[in-house]
């Protein structure tokens, strides 16, 4: 899926934002990620490492309201 920057507006208007459309988009994205990094004959650690790094970032974001109070603590 190659979309030029100038064509972005017209491309977005063709996307379906219904639940089925979003689900299909997620499935396509996951399938293309797997096809590129995981279902490869000689895959490396990159595929799984990116997933784990993304999971760490997601957990950090989820906990941010709690973690930001650590900055102002005098004693940890």
């Amino acid at each position: 899926m190659e979309v030029r920057l100038g064509e972005l507006h017209s491309w977005i208007s063709t996307c379906s934002f219904s639940p089925q459309g979003l689900l299909a988009a997620v499935q396509r994205a996951w399938g293309s990620y797997c096809a590129k990094y995981i279902h490869v004959k000689q895959g490396g650690p990159a595929g799984i490492s990116m997933l784990l790094a993304g999971y760490c970032l997601l957990s950090y974001g989820w906990n941010y309201q709690h973690l930001k109070q650590h900055r102002w603590r005098k004693y940890h």
């Binding site: 895959g43 799984i48 957990s59």
Partner: protein
């Protein structure tokens, strides 16, 4: 709001959605399903090899009737293994530190082994309550003790899992809290505590694997008694 060392074990939620849902479903993403290709990828080959190894280890002591439990035991093993190992990454949440999750895993499976035994061979299941060679006056007390030990098995399973993981995480947090200020005041001591932290992390990695294995192994032993 109290910020204490136990805050890492409270279930985090954002806009009312708890992280625990993602923490428990994320391991499924790490186990890729088979693609419609002839040649498998490295990840699937490694995982299949490991799954075969674990299944053979768990199922070899069981009779043939127990092999019906192979799927649930292997999937439980990998579920616990991945959840425990993922909890060692920074900022992540470990669902198995919660006693509630462990009870939900331990109690139904233990009850299933117990009911299987009581249904298929009720007298043999009751014989297990009395060890061989017991002197006659001690029989009533021993039956009570063995019944208690039978009924306490799910509690033991859950507390063992949560306590081991919680203790490891807490130790890591405590020692890292000590290492950080020491690095500015007494660098030599902080190097020692850094070494300790490194060793603890290795221990906790091993602990994560071992606890998953012990949980499933004990369940398979309870199954073997009853099947």
């Amino acid at each position: 709001m109290n910020l204490s060392f136990f805050d890492q074990f409270s279930s985090p939620s954002l806009l009312g959605i708890p992280l625990i849902l993602i923490s428990m479903t994320f391991p499924a993403l790490l186990l890729p399903s088979m693609d419609n290709r002839w040649i498998t990828n490295r990840l699937s080959t490694l995982q299949l090899w490991f799954i075969n190894l674990v299944t053979k280890q768990l199922m070899s002591p069981l009779y043939k009737k127990g092999h019906k439990w192979a799927l649930i035991q292997t999937s439980l093993m990998f579920f616990l293994l991945l959840i425990n190992l993922l909890g060692l990454l920074p900022y992540t949440f470990t669902p198995t530190t919660q006693l509630s999750i462990n009870l939900a895993l331990a109690f139904p499976l233990w009850l299933a082994t117990l009911l299987t035994g009581l249904r298929n061979q009720p007298s043999a299941s009751l014989w297990h309550l009395l060890p061989e060679g017991t002197p006659t006056p001690r029989i009533p007390a021993l039956i009570l003790i063995e019944t208690t030990s039978l009924l306490i098995r799910p509690q033991a399973l859950r507390v063992r899992l949560s306590a081991n993981l919680t203790a490891g995480h807490l130790l890591i947090q405590l020692i890292s809290t000590a290492t950080m200020p020491l690095s500015t005041t007494m660098p030599a001591v902080s190097l020692l505590s850094l070494l300790l932290l490194f060793l603890l992390t290795i221990l906790q990695e091993a602990e994560a694997i071992i606890q998953a294995y012990v949980f499933v192994l004990l369940l398979s032993l309870y199954l073997q008694e009853n099947i």
